[in-house]
Symmetry: C2
Subunit: 388 residues, 2 copies
């Protein structure tokens, strides 16, 4: 190993799914028909009205830096979205446009978590969260959560794990990898418990809008003392544009602005102008239709996996993931490898999302067509020798 290397590097894991992706690529190149159920981004291209706005922005010469917190028009458009969609008033000054939810998570954690400070996370959860904490020399407290709490934190877990060094808890609703929600009454209880202890709640709403049964909510309706992370990546299908936002409590605006100035200079300019078209009626119609498609894919995939012997105790209510317990079928990592090699179906081993019992889980993403999902289910059935 080279010298010097910061100690944190050992604590940061690569995405294990990258090996799967690479192997899938090799198999495709060798002429095999690989079905992709591992990919954490919508298969839909960015809606045309957004792409058109991006092209116009380029034609208009929008190629310079913008203010670090984003162009005022976009901050106002996001505030307008909260008002129109959720009836929640948010001061645009509290909305900081960022390079993806990734940028928003880094800003929020950098403002809250000093060295050795703790942040409470769910396990399973989005793995980058604990790696951001390692970057900041803080401590990620990875709390095992199960179906009893819909794979979310609750006050009991919070009380059990909160220490004098805890500064924040971070939850995601809908969650990656479980697709489960934390409804607003539960957010309110969690937020109260955290505020009582002098901490702050961060809610990652990157999959907001991608909910199939429950109402679409924002934690901003609960309190203006919490941090909300969001992004144009998933619901608006703008992954490659690298654009998200962070809503911060008023007190934190100066800290977050100077962090954004120094870490990012500015969010991508073309993406910001393109995103102005994300809240239009045209775009809305497109993404709502796509949401219906995702809902039916989910139903198909969950039913199929259950028939095959995967245990999915809770219907995932949002995002585009199924977190499936595969204990009855074997170790998750070995299963993912067998599925890829012999059935040419790519999925993500649980390992990428949890430290606790990683071998018992795999994640399926329904980011491919229903007929491909059906075909994948047939192949999996054949492989594990079960009835489809």
């Amino acid at each position: 190993m080279p010298h010097p290397l910061a100690a944190r590097i050992d604590a940061i894991e690569p995405f294990h799914v990258m090996r799967i992706l690479e192997r899938a690529h090799q198999l495709s190149a060798a002429g095999h028909d690989v079905i992709h159920l591992e990919v954490g981004e919508p298969d839909f291209a960015t809606p045309q009205p957004i792409v058109d706005a991006g092209i116009r922005a380029l034609q208009d010469g929008r190629t310079y830096y913008t203010p670090a917190a984003g162009i005022p028009a976009l901050r106002e458009a996001i505030a307008g979205h909260y008002w129109q969609r959720f009836g929640v008033k948010v001061d645009p000054a509290r909305i900081i446009v960022t390079p993806g939810a990734s940028g928003a998570l880094l800003l929020a954690l950098a403002a809250l978590i000093g060295r050795d400070d703790e942040v409470l996370l769910t396990d399973p959860g989005y793995p980058c969260n604990r790696h951001f904490v390692a970057l900041l020399e803080g401590r990620a407290v990875n709390i095992p959560v199960g179906p009893q709490t819909a794979y979310q934190l609750d006050e009991t877990l919070l009380t059990r794990h909160w220490t004098p060094r805890s500064q924040a808890a971070l939850v995601a609703s809908p969650s990656n990898p479980t697709g489960t929600l934390l409804p607003n009454p539960a957010i309110a209880r969690l937020n109260t418990a955290i505020r009582l202890r002098g901490g702050r709640l961060i809610v990652d709403e990157i999959y907001q809008g991608l909910v199939y049964d429950a109402p679409n909510e924002t934690a901003l309706a609960v309190s203006d003392e919490l941090f909300v992370v969001n992004s144009f990546s998933k619901y608006f299908q703008m992954t490659g544009w690298r654009l998200g936002w962070l809503v911060v409590p008023t007190d934190y605006i100066p800290a977050i602005e100077k962090l954004a100035q120094n870490l990012f200079l500015s969010p991508p300019t073309v993406a910001q102008y393109a995103a102005l078209a994300a809240f239009s009626a045209d775009t809305h119609a497109i993404i709502e239709a796509r949401r219906q498609i995702l809902a039916s894919r989910r139903d198909l995939l969950v039913a199929g996996l259950r028939r095959l012997g995967f245990s999915i105790p809770l219907m995932p209510e949002g995002a585009f993931y199924v977190w499936a317990n595969c204990a009855a079928l074997g170790d998750g990592e070995a299963l993912a490898e067998r599925l890829l090699e012999h059935a040419h179906v790519a999925i993500t081993p649980g390992l990428d999302f949890c430290l606790h019992q990683p071998g018992d889980y795999v994640r399926f993403a329904y980011t491919t067509d229903a007929d491909r999902i059906e075909e994948a289910l047939l192949r999996v059935a054949k492989l594990i020798d079960a009835r489809p």
Copy 2:
């Protein structure tokens, strides 16, 4: 102040020039003709071949995530650029595409600097560097440098400031704010001294290509044990696209790749496809012509400022900045304010770039037309009651 707030936030300063920019904006809105000599980005829009490639990428639906280290074609194009332009062979696997040089600096420092580890920086220098270090809970050692060393580090300074906690030194050539270079023989001496001590040298080459008298060099010709930071922002005039790159020693590829995966997911996709056109002959002709324009602006501005009583001991050889000692004319911050209020000329106070004697300096950027620079010089002359 809100609670909790990470201690690092106190150590991170906002860009003081933002106040100048805001006031300049107010003055413009009130009908005044403000001349901008404060802006750290080229006034030229992105060259048309790059913009056209960006538009084509959008038309082709390039809106998805890419590999975290960038699309292979771009990594190869950058390697090709090193070969064609500098005769240096660089393995594309060592080239990590990032969200701007900002992203590259964060990756390099995150891999090298753990808590309480030291990194040696020049003072004056690019202020974000020490703030990245604060993010990582490391220690920035801000070494006062003057005209004797061309505002750069040398082995004497290195030897004086290196401690057992030092892991790296970071230099920029051409430098912001001084425009001075660190030629390859000097890089070689510095690198040897650092490697002898078990540390690593990081060279920020973001202003590479923007040199006016001296040869255009890369530190990669010296050693493959150092880190090189670069960007499409300045020479290629792609600031708002947020695209840069980092060249790393082979040993560090796995560490840097997993950091990039976790912190950024991927660099902006449209920007990557657009940047493929950055190395074309068409683009080259455009940016070389612009470089000539910058050279003559520099000559005009430096001569004018010297006549007005600013002390500029070294002709800045690159970038688009003049670091002017204003001690004979008064405090730099007060001067910047007076110039803006009474002459409507916006410049950046030294405060933004140094901790040592900030009041003695101001930075002028020649990112505006020659006739505007002449007009600015006349206004400054009138204000300070000197002969232009």
